[in-house]
Symmetry: C2
């Protein structure tokens, strides 16, 4: 089995899957898709992802290549196929809690900041793309901070082991910093991010450590 | 076991879960959350959904109430607990395909049209909320139409039984119509919608049949 990940260094959706692959101990070849030069709209990329998104995970085995798209779908696949360590808790209630936290980042924060969304809004009013992205980051992260006060977070979003919600949280906080969103009001999110940052899978997945990160963004 | 669904008649996220409950044959009490009068921001609702979203599914059993939020998380819970009929195919590859289709609606189309997003944009430029919602519906539905040309759709998005992707598609097409998006370029989506519309679970979940639908929107 050979894995190939088509990714953009700074894309939070790619980043989630990089962490997930790392946690499962799966090695992969890295192939950059430059979102700023429009690689995602080229016919070869669209043939893999009709939505023009990254990441794309290709699994080559038994003479064929399976092409997986969309971060939740990819991560659920990895979790169903490679069980250890699990991304989701074993109890149904816990699974629903973790999926809801991840979904909140995936559908209520990230879409509002993505490159194509910001581009569209900037053509209509200068600065609006940035304001819009900041607005939803602030509201969304505040709601996430509140959601984590339910007594079920531990060192990580759910108990004391990293899981699906953490994979969504860490890249999102990085995006918020790029938008200059003040993160001080979210101590729980920052505490969990710190716990994640101590883990090799999170370290290796960091944007600054990807081959397509420009020199000025590279980790030393 | 008693189920209570907090829902808004026209909310596509509520609608998905109503279809899901119907397919699983689960009866529930309906409680309206009026998004136009701001019920979603009231403290009692925020205590259930820190994100201020609908739907919320409450499952009362054994002397306690489990509160489930966010549509994907709720539907995955229902599918893990009540197996028949399944929302997802049994093979890993099929599951990833169906989840990716649902995720595309959930994260790349619906967030761009929701009430709070449109409100924010309208305060900045008159008509922008509507333009923005239409733009992402057009791009998103076109991509979905393309994605469904992979030979794996049947009468429904995946084969000949309704599943998770159909639960996302049907309310999305209704939202697109309200936005006056031309659906003629998406014959596959329309064909699948028609197949869905023949099923009682889809009929009962329709916005026009909900107790909080205003008289002029009511199904006769």
């Amino acid at each position: 089995m050979n894995l190939l990940l088509r990714s953009y260094w700074r894309s939070s959706c790619s980043w989630r899957v990089r962490i997930g692959l790392g946690l499962k101990g799966l090695a992969y070849e890295y192939r950059a898709v430059n979102l700023l030069s429009g690689d995602q709209d080229r016919p070869d990329h669209r043939a893999r992802s009709p939505f023009g998104h990254v990441p794309v995970l290709e699994i080559e085995e038994g003479g064929r290549t399976l092409v997986l798209i969309e971060s939740v779908a990819i991560l659920e696949y990895l979790d169903e196929r490679f069980r250890d360590p699990p991304f989701l808790p074993s109890d149904l209630e816990g699974r629903a809690r973790v999926r809801a936290l991840a979904e909140h980042v995936n559908s209520a924060i990230q879409p509002m900041q993505n490159t194509s969304c910001r581009k569209f809004l900037e053509t209509r009013q200068h600065g609006l793309g940035l304001d819009f992205a900041r607005h939803w980051n602030q509201l969304g992260l505040a709601a996430l901070e509140t959601a984590l006060q339910d007594g079920k977070a531990g060192r990580f979003c759910h108990g004391d082991a990293p899981g699906l919600a953490d994979l969504y949280l860490v890249p999102q906080l990085n995006a918020a910093r790029r938008l200059e969103v003040d993160l001080a009001p979210y101590p729980t999110l920052l505490r969990i991010e710190e716990a994640c940052s101590a883990l090799p899978a999170f370290q290796a997945a960091h944007a600054s450590r990807q081959p397509d990160a420009p020199p000025e963004a590279r980790a030393s």
